[in-house]
């Protein structure tokens, strides 16, 4: 059997069997709406202002590093599968790239751990 088809069947089964767990209780458990009970929880206070307000974008250098290293990690997997089957000199460019990567990684970390750059 095609493995992708099995995964699709498995996903459908999960949705079919867990869906009733959340949809059925809504029918028998919902009483009439109450403005105090349906208030968002803020330790007993009446909520003030917007919940979805804009926040300061902190730890920005780490996010930039994530964008770069996400791609690097994914391409390393493509090299990692065939590493044992090919001779060492053909994976030399990747090793060189990883060594060269140490300098920008070190500089990025040097910038990222400083509090004024957060």
């Amino acid at each position: 059997m095609n493995p992708w088809l099995a995964i699709v069947i498995w996903g459908v089964i999960i949705v079919l069997l867990t869906g009733p767990m959340i949809t059925l209780p809504i029918f028998w458990s919902r009483r009439k709406p109450d403005p105090f009970r349906d208030m968002p929880f803020e330790s007993g206070q009446v909520p003030q202002g917007e919940a979805r307000h804009r926040l300061v974008m902190q730890y920005y250098p780490y996010l930039l590093m994530f964008v770069v290293f996400d791609v690097v990690a994914m391409f390393l997997f493509a090299w990692g599968i065939s590493f044992t089957t090919m001779p060492l000199d053909s994976s030399f460019p990747v090793i060189l790239f990883l060594i060269l990567l140490a300098a920008p990684l070190g500089y990025a970390l040097h910038l990222a751990v400083r509090k004024e750059n957060w």
Binding site: I9, W10, I22, P40
Partner: protein
């Protein structure tokens, strides 16, 4: 004789019997599939409460039947199903109800590629590890959408923290798994386990085992990394507004993910189903997985919580560098021929 479409009652019965006894049906419904998962998740919730209670010199669940109150999860489930589902009045209702289901879906889909035995796997996928990582990376996004949908301040902050945590710990986790992929030469999880028939990868890739274990503790948002649900600061974090059945489904998803990540550690580092032959393969697998799950639960009773900046800094400056160094160590180990006695 199985014919499709069936015309006589005998053919209908034959078709149903054929489907029920087929390997795919058994794997999806019974063993690595739904019934096994539900039972293990129920056991894990009881096990965590009992173990934490023993660490803190309490007794834990006691009265819900069986030895040590082992039927407590069933009592909790029945209680939660009949409780009222409270939805905040400014919440996005469809998203608020759909996201817990998505959490369960994305926690349970990767089980399709986990091999519980040589043939006990739902889908023997060639790119199994990448599929698994792709599904688990979607989890924090679902958390953020759920937090956004509940339109309350505490869940929103918790959801954002969850996203930051993923940013810091995803890359070390992948790079730690890369050493295993290099040793096994495959992304298929069945092949990775078969490559460990002589030596478990925890021995040649011990550093990456440490990095991977810490990274998945952060992925799972368990103490000392449970900032998205930090009780003293954020009430209950991203699921503050969930109640009743929504809460139950979220917890089903969370504990499924604990079991998923423990079984991933077993597959990648602890030799999967391999063990002495007096027990069947799936039993060995489950024993190892529960041992790993125990080591994930124990820190919750022992360690304090980290601060956000400490957490992100540890992920990038320590774990990533150790994981990258371990890639070089793996290159050396493979090409120096030390491991050739074990067929690597």
């Amino acid at each position: 004789m199985v014919v499709f479409p069936p015309t006589t009652p005998q053919e209908v019965i034959a078709l149903i019997l054929y489907i029920i006894t087929s390997h795919t049906f058994i794997t999806i419904i019974i063993f690595p599939g739904f019934i096994h998962l539900t039972l293990v998740v129920m056991f894990l919730t009881w096990y965590e409460r009992k173990l934490l209670a023993r660490i803190q010199l309490r007794i834990g669940p006691l009265y819900a039947g069986g030895p040590g109150g082992i039927l407590q999860p069933i009592a909790d489930g029945v209680k939660l199903i009949f409780k009222e589902v409270m939805i905040p009045y400014k919440a996005d209702k469809p998203l608020f109800l759909a996201m817990p289901l998505m959490l369960v879906l994305f926690a349970a889909l990767p089980f399709a590629v986990i091999p519980f035995g040589q043939h006990w796997v739902i889908a023997n996928l060639e790119v199994g590890l990448v599929f698994l990582f792709a599904m688990t990376s979607l989890f924090p996004s679902m958390i953020l959408i759920f937090a956004w949908a509940s339109n309350s301040k505490f869940p929103f902050l918790g959801g954002l923290r969850s996203l930051f945590q993923q940013v810091a710990y995803e890359i070390p986790m992948w790079v730690a798994a890369l050493s295993v992929v290099m040793l096994a030469g495959s992304l298929n999880l069945t092949n990775i386990v078969e490559a460990q028939s002589k030596i478990w990868f925890i021995v040649p890739a011990f550093l990456s085992f440490i990095v991977f274990f810490i990274a998945i503790m952060a992925e799972l948002e368990r103490l000392p990394f449970d900032l998205p649900e930090a009780e003293p600061e954020l009430v209950a974090g991203w699921f503050t507004e969930s109640s009743g059945a929504v809460f139950m489904v979220i917890f089903l998803g969370l504990y499924m993910k604990v079991y998923l990540m423990s079984s991933l550690v077993t597959v990648l580092f602890l030799g999967g189903w391999w063990g002495p032959a007096f027990l069947p393969q799936p039993v060995w697998f489950i024993i190892k997985t529960l041992i790993v799950a125990t080591f994930m639960i124990i820190p919750r009773g022992v360690y304090p919580r980290l601060r956000v900046d400490m957490l992100i800094k540890t992920g990038w400056t320590r774990l990533l560098i150790i994981a990258l160094a371990n890639v070089f160590l793996t290159i050396l180990l493979i090409h120096s021929g030390i491991l050739s006695a074990w067929g690597i």
